[in-house]
Structure formats: structure tokens, C-alpha cells
């Protein structure tokens, strides 16, 4: 299982999106998961494709083609606006 987290404006768009992916196929990547959402969550998928959106695995920023493993925590991060 892989947990999915959506922050900031992505969280609002992901209200009906899955919060986890139960069975992980081999060679799945964050990019693959983004594409998987295109059919059922087109608006979210479009927002995830914006170039400023970063992706992290287990709280470390990774590339979109990083391979995912069972138990990973995958998070989608829009541009931060703290302080």
C-alpha cells in the first residue's frame, strides 16, 4: 500500500481522490500515479501537472520518475507560502 497526500490547493481538488493505492504494480512512479488519475479526477490531474508542483516520497523531494515501493508515503506539494 502507498499513502497519498495532497497539500494546499491540491488538497481541495483531491477531496474525492483516493488517499491510498492498495496494490502497487511493479515500476510504478509518481508520474504513473498522476496519469492514473486523469480519467476519474481530471481537474486534480491537471493541477498536479503544473510545472511548479513538487513530489516527495517519505518526506524527501524526488523526481517524478522515482520508483515507488510498498509502504511509501507519496505527497504532492504546490509552491510553498509560509512565513
Amino acid at each position: 500500500m502507498i499513502n497519498l497526500l495532497f497539500f494546499g490547493r491540491l488538497g481541495d481538488l483531491a477531496k474525492d481522490a483516493p488517499t491510498c493505492i492498495a496494490s502497487l504494480e511493479p515500476d510504478t512512479t509518481p508520474l504513473g500515479i498522476r496519469q492514473m488519475m486523469k480519467a476519474d479526477h481530471p481537474e486534480l490531474s491537471k493541477a498536479l501537472s503544473e510545472p511548479q508542483v513538487l513530489v516527495s516520497v517519505n518526506k524527501m523531494i524526488v523526481k517524478w520518475d522515482e520508483p515507488l515501493f510498498e509502504g511509501d508515503e507519496l505527497a504532492f506539494l504546490p509552491p510553498v507560502t509560509g512565513g
Binding site: L5, F7, S56, L77, V80, G82, G83
Partner: protein
């Protein structure tokens, strides 16, 4: 370790944080503090002229990741300048106008290090730490955009070969 990093819903006391920095040791000659407050009007990144009345801001963060990033930012500052102690506190949750959002405090022997490090910490915190801000006001909710002036400010620190 004399440093303190905290993400919390509770308010903080500038006075308490200052006293902590002041009493660390007898070589503290300079203390710079920064406090960020919620303003009653907020402009969007793209439209600096159109200001929106703020009912409250909602500060969200990525628990676990934020603390790691803040620890890293503090370590970078301490590697770069000769500092006695650093404090970073960032609040989350709903914050009304005039509420305190963020505190950065730096204690050092001399003032230049404390000023530079406090500014560096704020510039990095604004652009690297996993916080997001939603504005509620005038009957609508709106996630705030990152400001290009903030990325420019943070980028300046990597360009500088000397401070």
C-alpha cells in the same frame, strides 16, 4: 544545543523567546528578532494593487517534513555565520489579523551575523519549508500564491560568494 525549532498551533511569546536567547551565555551581544503578523488586507501575488480583506488565514503544513526542513535551514545558518543560538517558531491553523505567524530569533556576539542570519532564515523559510496559506475573506476562500520576490530573496543567498 542552544537552538529551538517548533511548529505549533499555540501562540508564542516574543518576550519568553527573547529571554531564552538572552540568557544562553555571557557572550551574546546582539539579538535580532523577526515576527510575522497577519495583515488585515492581503494582496495576491499577481495583483499587488487589489487588496482583499482578511477574515483569517489558514496555515497548513506537512508534519514531519516541515520540522526536518527547518532543522536543515537552521544548520545551514549556523554553518554560514558565527551564531550563539537560533529559534524558529511557525504557527499553523486559523490565524486572524494581528495574530503572530512566525518568529525567528538569532543571538550572536556581533550584530552583523545576527541580522544576516535572521534574514537568511526568513528567506529560506518562505521558499523551502512546507507551509501553505489559505485566505478566507470577503465570503471566499483562496490559496495564496508563492511570491516571486520571495524566491528572488532566497536565490540571492546562493549567488553571494561572500556576505
Amino acid at each position: 544545543m542552544n537552538d529551538l525549532v517548533c511548529v505549533q498551533a499555540d501562540d508564542f511569546s516574543l518576550s519568553d523567546e527573547y529571554q531564552r536567547l538572552r540568557n544562553i551565555n555571557g557572550q551574546v551581544g546582539a539579538i535580532v528578532t523577526f515576527c510575522g503578523l497577519v495583515r488585515d488586507f492581503e494582496s495576491s501575488a499577481g495583483e499587488p494593487k487589489s487588496k482583499k480583506l482578511v477574515n483569517y488565514l489558514t496555515l497548513q503544513h506537512y508534519p514531519g517534513m516541515t520540522e526536518t526542513l527547518l532543522d536543515d535551514i537552521v544548520m545551514q545558518a549556523k554553518a554560514r555565520w558565527d551564531l550563539v543560538a537560533v529559534t524558529v517558531i511557525h504557527r499553523i491553523g486559523n490565524l486572524a489579523p494581528n495574530d503572530q505567524i512566525v518568529f525567528v530569533g538569532v543571538a550572536s556576539e556581533h550584530r552583523k551575523e545576527a541580522f544576516d542570519a535572521a534574514q537568511f532564515l526568513m528567506d529560506y523559510l518562505k521558499t523551502k519549508a512546507t507551509f501553505w496559506k489559505k485566505l478566507t475573506g470577503e465570503g471566499a476562500e483562496q490559496w495564496l500564491d508563492a511570491k516571486s520576490s520571495d524566491s528572488d530573496a532566497a536565490a540571492k543567498w546562493s549567488e553571494d560568494s561572500h556576505d
